[in-house]
Amino acid sequence: MENKKGILGYLLNNRHRSRTISYTMVAAAYILLEILLKTGNLSNLFTGLLVPATCYLVAAIGLNLNVGVSGELNLGQAGFMAVGAFSGVCVSGVLAGTVPPVLRLILAIIIGMLLTAFVGFLIGIPVLKLQGDYLAIVTLAFGQIVMNLIMNLYVAFDSTGIKFSFVESKFTLGEGGKYLINGPMGATGTERIANFTAGTILVIFALVVVYNLIYSRSGRAIMAARDNRIAAESIGINIAKTKMMAFVISAALAGAAGALYGLNYSTMVASKFDYNTSILILVYVVLGGLGNFNGTLIATVILFLLPQLLRGLQDYRMLIYAVVLILIMLITNNEFLRTKAASLRKKKA
């Protein structure tokens, strides 16, 4: 592999192979699905799943940076998605009528991402003082806290500006005023400006950020801190700083995913982003393989679509889903199959 020349050699050498495969998979899936969409060969159910699928992909890629590359178990990813989702909806709501949809979507995603990064930073300060199981439990709690805060948040907007409240107050709204977030009822009357193309671009963006980070000074420091804390410190790496970097970037990607998600539905409630969603994203990451982003892509798509495709089974749906999860775990952990796969890979290389 090392001695191949030219562009193909560059794309397929050890360092670039996995990212080449990632980009190719995403591009191929996008082109295929766009053709099916344009020719009307995609069912309504399936079409409706495209944007949420890209959202979960972005959130899972971010989580894999935190769990796989940085090695810290985070059970609060859905909380960060919620921050991005509701801030994105607010941004879009405020700018509606003055800014065209495409630009509004971009702004909503960027602001959602930055705000979530900031929330991630604040939460990271206490959380990253912990390690292992304790860190996992605290992130789970923070995810729930964020969700509950948003469930009690009222945000309204009129010509005089934006109004916030944590009590069910009746804002006196002027001409053309409306509620952007209405407490437990969530965001209502959102204009649906998200689309599959934007989702795909966001997935590519997430992959570029994560891959470029990993193959850099910062990425090596993050992995060094994961592999051996004491040795990493001994060569002058600030553990707190590197862990924070991975945590914040992971949160930011969840925030971007959330913003896109929020703008894909006309109504959305905060309880959608409870710990079940966090666990779901974690399952995608773990079954795809820690630190393996191609695995994350494949596992997320399959496991996201599976429950939808099993709808016909009605009550047995989640039972089958659970059985499939267990089977995947057994197969991927089977010593015989693993060694077979490893020897196959060696022959190829």
């Binding site: 090392e2 950020v209 193959y215 592999d227 990493a232 002058g236």
Partner: protein, 257 residues
Amino acid sequence: MSTKATPILEVKELGIDFGGLTAVNDLDLAIYDKEIVGLIGPNGAGKTTVFNLLTKVYKPTRGSIFFDGKDTAGKTVVDINKAGIARTFQNIRLFNNLTVLDNVRTAYHNNIRYSPVEAVFRLPGYYAKEREIEGKSRELLEIMELGQYAEVTAGNLPYGAQRRLEIARAMATEPKLLLLDEPAAGMNPQETDDLMRMIRFVRDHFEIAVLLIEHDMQLVMGICERIYVLNYGMLLAQGVPAEIQANPDVIKAYLGD
């Protein structure tokens, strides 16, 4: 050696207690530029504790450590490495999931810097700095005779190579003083000979001082210019190898009465 002006490392009346146990007490050390100094003593004498005190893993209970003329009180492990002390570990601590080359590249963290933004957007600074890091890292791997293993995952290296990789990684932080904790442990005589040659080369090439803990007397007597002997956390003797070998206290400490 004591004719030289100021030592690079000067330890005065250093001591540490763990609860009621005094692990190191009243220790005076001085290491000068470009010296190779040995720290020996029976098991449990407190040698590794001294390394942990020098690198601020432990905070001393008493005494002071001056490095490069400055008091190191209040510094952290990270600060000490930035100041110019690098170390290896008795129980090998590599980044096992990274390649040999990446282990060394990682250690250029503070000496060749660029921001995460430059990395994520692949700005020109990224390429220039990465080339520099890779060039220097490969040079270190060649010195430690690890060039053939560059792309191997560190956890899969043979034992002796792992010890040499720890030295290469420590050297990548561009230290003025290198602390080696039993670098020859588990090596056969041939490997130990090679290691001695490499340590000498590193000292001459990078013009650094080396302080090493070692039980292998072939290495200690063959390479060290001065030796400190530690027993029960206290300094038992110091001097050139010939003096130490002839010192009755040292022989008693090692062999008993």
